[in-house]
């Protein structure tokens, strides 16, 4: 994975070789040769933002979400704390856990890739001349008990039609405020789908909407919709605060 050195070239092509924000982050940590248990967040966040300057739209949400998270951790680390505060939890801890877990997945998938390559390099019998005289299928061994336990499995699998408990999901307006600020720090205009991925759950959609309205109220951005139901244009206000 050698990064293209051509400076005029946007990073779009380069990002396609990463499987996602965690992969990019791991690669930065490797390139910078820093201790994964003691990540210099400010430096890594800066590098991360530099790398995602020119994102393809369909990847934007996932990378920007990570950018916002890094900026949030950076801010938390700047908060003054009491040296002998036993309850203090390193704001990087959750990120470190996810990075280690992801690194393990990468190792296993490398192993799987080698196994698949090995199998790919061997051919099975392709032509079976006896296929014409294919014997009838073997007799069936079935019992009512088996059928009933299948019924049971179906019942457990089936969507219950009306028994949903409505669980209040906490909205994450602050999280989306961070994401939106990160986007607007990178460019002057954005659209709804830059802020939220298409498969987002309803609590995310609500959080994003509330975050947009809140930022508009604070004068950091302007929302414009050219036609009813048209796509919404989010514009950074010049007085807006940078992330």
């Amino acid at each position: 994975m050698t990064a293209p050195a051509n400076l005029g070239d946007p990073f779009v092509v380069e990002l396609q070789q990463f499987e996602g924000p965690l992969d990019l982050l791991l690669s930065l940590i490797r390139d910078e040769q820093v201790d994964i248990y003691d990540i210099p967040i400010a430096r890594i966040a800066e590098q991360f933002l530099a790398r995602i300057q020119t994102l393809a739209i369909d990847q934007a949400a996932e990378y920007l979400e990570m950018a916002a998270r890094l900026l949030r951790i950076k801010a938390q680390l700047l908060l003054p704390r009491n040296q002998d505060d036993e309850a203090w939890e390193d704001p990087r801890a959750e990120l470190v856990r996810r990075l280690l877990e992801y690194q393990q997945v990468r190792e296993i998938s490398d192993h799987l890739g080698r196994m698949a390559e090995d199998r790919r390099s061997r051919f099975a019998r392709a032509w079976l001349p006896q296929q014409a005289v294919e014997p009838p299928p073997a007799p069936l061994a079935l019992s009512l008990g088996e059928l009933l336990s299948a019924v049971d499995r179906v019942l457990r699998m089936a969507r219950e039609p009306h028994l949903h408990d409505v669980v209040p999901r906490p909205l994450d307006v602050d999280g989306f405020i961070g994401t939106i600020r990160a986007i607007l720090a990178l460019r002057a205009h954005a659209r709804w789908y830059d802020v939220i991925r298409p498969s987002a759950e309803s609590w995310e959609v609500l959080s994003a909407l509330l975050a947009l309205l809140e930022l508009a109220r604070r004068g950091e951005l302007r929302l414009r919709q050219a036609t009813p139901f048209g796509s919404m244009v989010i514009t950074r206000e010049s007085t807006g605060q940078a992330a």
Binding site: R125, W127, P129, P137, A138, A150, V151, V154, P161
Partner: protein, 180 residues
């Protein structure tokens, strides 16, 4: 066997059809039709001398490795006498849904199981456990499936009413299909 004979054996095994000599010769830039024929002879002799279950034969315009006829019979007989086959969990679940909800269309079965059932329906149909019993209303008039007499026989039931009724089933499986 010599290197060319090994390569030819691998190629004949992996090919999806009998292979003519000139195509076999294309496998190795240094091979000629004559060396290929000699190598094929070596493969045939090796199979004969060491007592293999397969043989090399030239049929039509190509060469192929075939199982020896005496073993073909044994393989077929064995498949007939094979241990009874068990249905997969997925097939049993699909069958259970059809038994309790018939007549039922594929879309509805897939709605309940949450996954594509095309291959399973085909295999249950081939095994004559289900059959098409009609067509539904609505878009495309979907095929509706039901169980067959063989289904009852396999489960030693006289009629469908002998299937145990779970009260819960009445709710989830006997419910009216959603109006569309």
């Amino acid at each position: 066997m010599n290197p060319l004979a090994r390569l030819l054996e691998a190629a004949l095994f992996a090919s999806n059809r009998p292979v003519p000599v000139d195509e076999l010769a294309a496998l190795d830039p240094e091979a000629s039709p004559a060396t290929v024929v000699a190598a094929l002879g070596e493969i045939r002799d090796t199979y004969q001398a060491n007592g293999h279950g397969v043989e090399l034969v030239e049929l039509g315009d190509g060469w192929q490795v075939l199982t020896r006829p005496e073993y073909t019979d044994a393989i077929e007989r064995a498949q007939l006498a094979a241990r009874p086959h068990r249905l997969s969990g997925a097939a049993l679940e699909t069958l259970a849904i059809i038994a309790y909800r018939q007549p039922i269309g594929r879309a509805e079965i897939e709605e309940i199981r949450g996954v594509n059932c095309g291959a399973i329906l085909k295999s249950l149909h081939e095994r004559a456990l289900i059959d098409v019993t009609g067509r539904g209303e609505g878009m495309g008039r979907p095929l509706l499936y039901g169980t067959t007499p063989l289904f009852l026989e396999q489960f030693a039931l006289r009629h469908l009413e002998e299937l145990p009724r779970a009260d819960e089933l009445a709710v989830t499986l006997r419910a009216e299909p959603r109006a569309i």
